[in-house]
């Protein structure tokens, strides 16, 4: 299955943001959610089919013009599945050009046993632009080994590469230098700075989570966990706190989100972060 989704957000000239382009095709269906209050808009990616599956070739293009504020979320985790043998790996390319503010906060990617999924992300943030980029990965569904996943992320700010990261996960490759026995990983890149509402001083560096000032203008927060809840506990407050920014009101999420083929459920926070104990 080949699919392209395209989202273009522009300043509407009245202090708000309008979606100049919002189109996609199954399984990449972007939907505007939330009201039009505030300066920003929120778009949810709505999965139109199970997957990605082997052979899928998916592309998401996002452009955020100067003065525009866009938050992108997804309604459910992305579940990479094996699909038909002999087909090439499933592929997801995300390309974003950001002159305004982009907050990319999707649900996790789950690497089901037997999957072979390649994700490639390239984000260009112009000087003066603002980025919050979250990527979560869960290695295998409950009690199953992980599939094969290869992630490659390039984030550039003001014409220089700020963050360049690749991660390859495959069955039987657990190393205490990489992920060890942890099954969940979350990363959050903020450029050029953490949202003003996030105080790194309140974040405690542990042996499973850290906030790191990058060499260039930006931060990386990384967390590992036995499951995605531990990762969320570490990283969500940083994303949740940013909800107060012009991106709009927090989107209430369902307590449980059905994922992919429905054989598995991912626990998601039942309340917006501001109401959760962890945020206080």
């Amino acid at each position: 299955m080949r699919a392209v989704a395209r989202i273009v957000a522009e300043a509407d000239g009245r202090g708000g943001t309008r979606l100049a382009v919002l189109r996609g095709e199954s399984p990449l269906l972007p939907r505007r959610t939330g009201g039009s209050s505030g300066a920003g808009v929120t778009v949810h990616l709505v999965g139109g089919a199970a997957g990605p599956l082997r052979g899928d070739d998916l592309r998401v293009e996002v452009t955020v013009g100067a003065g525009a504020h866009l938050t992108v979320r997804s309604v459910a985790a992305q579940l990479a599945l094996p699909g038909r043998a002999g087909l090439p790996p499933s592929r997801l390319v995300v390309h974003a050009e950001v002159a305004g503010e982009l907050r990319w906060l999707p649900e996790p990617l789950i690497a089901a046993a037997g999957c072979d999924h390649h994700a490639r992300t390239h984000v260009e943030v112009a000087e003066g632009g603002t980025l919050l980029w979250r990527e979560d990965l869960v290695c295998g569904r409950h009690a199953e080994p992980t599939g094969t996943v290869s992630l490659s992320t390039t984030i550039r700010y003001a014409g220089a590469t700020l963050y360049r990261h690749e991660l390859a996960v495959a069955p039987d490759t657990g190393s205490p230098a990489v992920l060890g026995r942890y099954r969940a990983l979350g990363t959050l890149v903020a450029a050029p700075a953490l949202p003003a509402t996030v105080l790194p001083a309140t974040f405690r560096t542990t042996s499973s989570a850290a906030i790191m000032p990058l060499a260039g203008q930006g931060f990386l927060a990384t967390a590992v966990g036995e499951d995605i809840r531990e990762v969320r506990a570490a990283l969500d407050p940083m994303c949740g706190a940013a909800e107060g920014a012009p991106g709009g009101a927090p989107q209430a999420r369902d307590g449980f989100l059905a994922v992919g083929d429905g054989s598995h459920r991912v626990h998601a926070p039942a309340k917006p972060f501001a109401e959760r104990e962890i945020a206080t």
Partner: protein
Amino acid sequence: MSLATLLVLADGRLPAGGHAHSGGLEAQVSAGRVRDLDDVAAFLRGKLATSGLVAAAFAAAACRRPGRWAELDGGLDARTPSPALRKASRAQGRALLRAGRAMWALPPIGREPHQPTALGVLAHAAGLGPEEAAVAAAHGTTTGAASAAVRLLALDPYAVHALLARLAPACDRIAGEAARHADDAVNDLPAAGAPLLDIGAEHHATWEVRLFAS
């Protein structure tokens, strides 16, 4: 190319500051993730495939184009999110340059480059090629942490060296892969990350008491 020169460059006794660094092992030992020889083996394999590959590729690239050391250093900055690891890499790069200047005539390079950049430039000055620079980098990735493992876990040194011998083919393979990238644009060079090395290094840097600098 002189094999003996390569051995001089890759010798663990080279006074280049390596003995004070555990290559991230001390943090993982303390976190309980590395307890025995099997864990050390898994740690070294993971390290070799991630930061080892990156170090080898950048050493090879710096050997091929020493004049581009600053651009390569920027590439390593972008691949090293942990400030503690950037500091450790630059401290070892500086120490390596100090040793290198005593041995060979080095082309211009900054005062405190990343260790792989410095290694590549030294290899170039020593008349070695990108593949040799890469193998020295990959080898150094494993031997430094292995030596720390002997000290931190009181492991049998023969068992640890047997492990290093078993890892040698993997070192060669990683170095070969790295050297094939020697001419790539900096953004296209390998960028394999190791989340636990990043997190561990940051946590380690907050300790009041530690044995190794990183």
